[in-house]
């Protein structure tokens, strides 16, 4: 494969020809801010915050859409670059609510992060502000387009990852809005609530309804785990605060990357359902009565022993579960074969 040797901020790096300047820089630990760029999506060069200086180039090209060529000399840290990035941020926040103290995204918002890094706290540009109605007429999302920076990531995720193309830009100029076709509420669209758009939005425009007000990102413990639904094996983070699951966020699964379906992203709610059984129950005269673990387990052991003595081991059958873990299945397997002494164990492999 052809390689290109480029120099970025004085460091030389060899990359496969065609690699973008942004990827080359990030590969050697040079930080370049980017809003519309997402490694899982196509690059569009829309936000222009990733601009750099390239020797021999008249303007400042966007590094996410500029391919490395052999001998290229790039600078990411010049005053002109910083100036340009600052101006972009000032333009973006000129029409941004700046309610960071209550915004869910605070702490993980890229706009906030870059404003912090470039020392932008207010905008010299004052003009009209959007007053879009908030779309929250659905069980899962709150869409506040007043916070949208028109990076288009959500649109590309829906089209390129999910293949549904529910979202696009509508209207033009100042009124441009990212959302479902014909600017309908998400509830009236063909959305399948996979949450991919939420996962890629760099700001607080797209939020998960159930997580709002449940905790700041830095207070939340993320527990990497595997989805309990279909057999694909998607991996995600359970977000836990004060001993409760407050939501699911994307991580980097072997199979699914950052993407999930509606079940993985929102199906965790059964865990904390009020209908969960919490104590053993023993049926007495046709009615279930609460019992202690010791009572229940002693009764079970006694009855299973009795069955075995009276009718033989083969009068016992175990149904194991395709929903339970390997360890639980192994234990029930060992229980059935070694403790009871029968091979009568099966599970609903058919589902």
């Amino acid at each position: 494969m052809a390689v290109a040797t480029v120099t970025i901020d004085g460091m030389t790096v060899q990359v496969p020809a065609g690699t973008t300047v942004l990827d080359a820089a990030r590969s050697i630990g040079i930080k370049i801010p980017a809003l519309c760029y997402d490694p899982d999506l196509s690059s569009v060069g829309a936000c222009r915050i990733c601009v750099v200086e390239i020797e021999g180039s008249r303007n400042l090209p966007a590094s996410c859409v500029t391919a490395c060529t052999d001998g290229m000399v790039v600078r990411t840290d010049t005053p002109a670059v910083a100036e340009a990035r600052k101006a972009i941020l000032e333009l973006l926040i000129a029409n941004h609510p700046l309610d960071c103290m209550t915004c869910e995204k605070s702490g993980t918002c890229l706009l906030q992060k870059y404003c912090y890094e470039y020392g932008v706290s207010s905008s010299p540009f004052q003009g009209d502000r959007h007053e879009f109605a908030i779309d929250d007429d659905n069980p899962f999302y709150v869409r506040d387009m007043n916070k949208c920076i028109l990076c288009g990531r959500c649109i590309r995720a829906c089209e390129e990852i999910v293949g549904r193309s529910v979202l696009d830009f509508s209207y033009r100029g100042f009124n441009t809005k990212a959302g479902p076709f014909m600017d309908t509420p998400i509830r009236d669209s063909d959305c399948v609530y996979c949450g991919s758009c939420i996962a890629v939005c760099p700001v607080g425009a797209l939020e998960e309804k159930k997580m709002i007000g449940k905790g700041r990102p830095w207070e939340v413990e993320k527990v990497r785990t595997t989805c309990p639904y279909c057999g694909t094996g998607c991996v995600f983070d359970l977000n836990v605060k004060d001993g409760r699951i407050i939501g699911v966020t994307s991580t980097d699964g072997d199979v699914n990357g950052r993407f999930l379906c509606v079940k993985g992203r929102f199906g965790y709610q059964f865990v904390q359902s009020g209908d969960r059984l919490k104590t053993p129950l023993i049926k007495k005269n046709g009615e279930f009565k609460e019992a202690t673990w010791a009572e229940a387990l002693n009764l079970i052991a006694g009855k299973f022993k009795e069955t075995k003595e009276k009718y033989g081991s083969d009068a016992f059958g175990a149904l194991s579960s395709a929903r339970c873990s390997n360890e639980e299945n192994y234990l029930l397997d060992k229980f059935t074969r070694a403790v009871i002494g029968t091979n009568n164990i099966d599970h609903c492999a058919r589902l």
Partner: protein
């Protein structure tokens, strides 16, 4: 997965999920991937948009069928005839991979003799697929290098499920589409840990790792490790257990996290069996229809409350982690362990990792996997040693059983077809938003999709005088249920399609009692019903 085990010696997906990404041809039969396996469905759609050819075989017009290069709307239950017909053409046009057949497979003559009878005209008549399409699809599959077969329940839930799977194996061997990247025969498992439950030996004939209970040497190994004498006689499958319960030979049962009353075909038979048991223990998250029959219910901890592992459909073992304190006060492995100890098995496990390690020490195909190695990313078995990277693609040099076994498989019509009294064909499946039993307890999901809708073709809807939203009664020779109607041309005329996610519409009271003779799988996909409009 008895079918693939017979053909190849191993019953799992032959290739990894991410092989979909750079495939040149995706051959989907009986799988509504965008709903049943959404993430795999996304990948299929992406691959198709990048130029991979997409062939979808399904009586329903699924989302992927809509996008497919070829959508073969076969008559329900005619998969084998179709596959035999495709193989007939491949052999007739001399497109088979002779080297692969010669070197890697056996019993080719039997296949040749069987498929010889399936000439395109006959197959077209049986399946409803035009002759020219049969030719095009056969040529495309045989001549495309990176061509993989993917299937789910559509294939395995027929009376001939096992033979359907073997037919898929046949056509893949015939064309040499095995043991290489982006090829293979890939069953996508429906539940998170079906693969793992099978791998762990939750089957009547095998110990963990598909080690046969009737093999003396293997039994001796487990006897030594477990410290007891073990029975070498193959145990009962689920339907046989309920048969035994109904006949009084099975007296006590332990049911872990399953709700057969809702999810098994012919639930009335299950109910009567459960009623007759002398003692039933159910370990569950919720008070399910099945748990109602229990003498003792043990509360389960959910996936978020226990440490452990799941094995995904591509044989990838991944960690599941405890995120919150178990609601019932203890994890499921602790409950099971306490039950064992009370009955005299004194091993006291301190962490699920110890349980895994004990299993792995007895299971050569997983011996190289431990919690440390899969802390971040999973590992794909076979993984025999701790320095082994895992085996995403099976059968690269030889098949697990040595040679791939061709089998002549004849088309068998479904066990029950529509007739005068029961003129509709009932087909069942899964919808995207739900998953057997837990999603109904997830509030957000229930607000959007909270009841069953039976799909009915517009022509049939006219005759029945129903519109979307009306209620119907669906009855078979075994039972009945009621449901709202959705009128849609996604189902062909004469077919009714329903899911089985809702307690209020117990679809499985209606479904067939006819089982696949080899696997015991219920024939969920096809049964004859009648449909009547109900006053709303």
């Amino acid at each position: 997965m008895a079918g693939l085990a017979t053909s190849f010696g191993s019953g799992a997906m032959t290739n990894p999920i991410n092989d979909v990404n750079d495939s040149e041809l995706l051959f989907l039969t009986g799988t509504n991937a965008t709903e049943a396996h959404p993430i795999i469905g996304y990948k299929m759609r992406q691959a198709h948009r990048r130029g991979a050819k997409l062939i979808v075989i399904d009586p329903r017009r699924t989302e992927l069928a809509e996008e497919a290069d070829y959508w073969l709307q076969i008559k329900s239950g005619t998969d084998i005839a179709l596959l035999n017909g495709l193989m007939h053409i491949i052999i007739k046009e001399d497109l088979q991979d002779k080297k692969f057949i010669e070197e890697r497979c056996e019993n080719y003559e039997a296949l040749e003799a069987t498929v010889a009878k399936y000439d395109p005209e006959y197959v077209s008549e049986v399946t409803g697929v035009p002759v020219n399409i049969l030719y095009e699809v056969a040529r495309l599959y045989a001549t495309t290098k990176k061509a993989g077969i993917y299937y789910t329940l559509g294939i395995t839930e027929h009376i001939c499920g096992v033979r359907n799977v073997m037919s898929c194996a046949n056509i893949a061997m015939l064309t040499g589409h095995l043991g290489k990247p982006n090829t293979g025969v890939n069953p996508m498992r429906g539940q998170n840990n079906v693969q793992g439950a099978c791998d762990m030996g939750a089957l009547p004939n095998v110990f963990p790792g598909y080690q046969n209970v009737n093999n003396d040497e293997i039994r001796a190994k487990f006897e030594k490790a477990w410290g007891v004498a073990l029975d070498g006689k193959v145990g009962l499958k689920i339907p046989e257990m309920f048969e035994g319960a109904n006949h009084g030979t099975v007296k006590a049962m332990f049911i872990l996290g399953e709700n057969p009353v809702l999810t098994d075909p012919n639930s009335n038979h299950i109910r009567s069996g459960l009623k007759k048991l002398e003692f039933l223990v159910v370990q569950e998250l919720f008070l399910t229809e099945t748990a109602e029959y229990a003498d003792v219910i043990l509360p389960s901890a959910s996936f978020a409350e226990c440490d452990g592992t799941f094995t995904g459909t591509e044989r990838r073992v991944q960690r599941v982690r405890q995120a919150i304190v178990p609601l019932p006060g203890q994890a499921n492995w602790q409950t099971l362990n306490q039950m064992m100890i009370r009955m005299g098995c004194l091993t006291n496990y301190k962490h699920p990792g110890e349980i895994w390690d004990e299993m792995a020490s007895l299971t050569p195909s997983m011996a190289g996997i431990n919690y440390e190695r899969i802390d971040k990313d999973g590992l794909v078995w076979p993984c025999p040693t701790c320095d082994h990277p895992g085996t995403p693609i099976l059968h690269t040099a030889t098949f697990s059983r040595g040679k791939g076994l061709f089998q002549g498989i004849e088309h068998v019509p479904p066990g029950e077809m529509p007739d005068q009294d029961y003129p509709f064909l009932l087909n069942t499946g899964r919808i995207l938003q739900h998953y057997n039993v837990t999603t109904p307890y997830s509030a957000g999901i229930m607000t959007l999709w909270n009841e069953e809708y039976a799909w009915v073709n517009p022509d049939d809807a006219c005759e029945l005088d129903v519109e979307t939203g009306d209620r119907i009664r669906v009855s078979s020779r075994r039972g009945e249920c009621s449901s709202k109607v959705r009128v849609t041309d996604r189902v062909p005329k004469g077919m009714v399609w329903m899911s089985f996610h809702y307690t209020a519409s117990q679809t499985n009271a209606v479904t067939s009692h006819i089982l696949d003779p080899t696997s015991g799988t219920g024939e969920y996909k096809v049964c004859a019903v009648k449909v009547e409009k109900l006053a709303s």
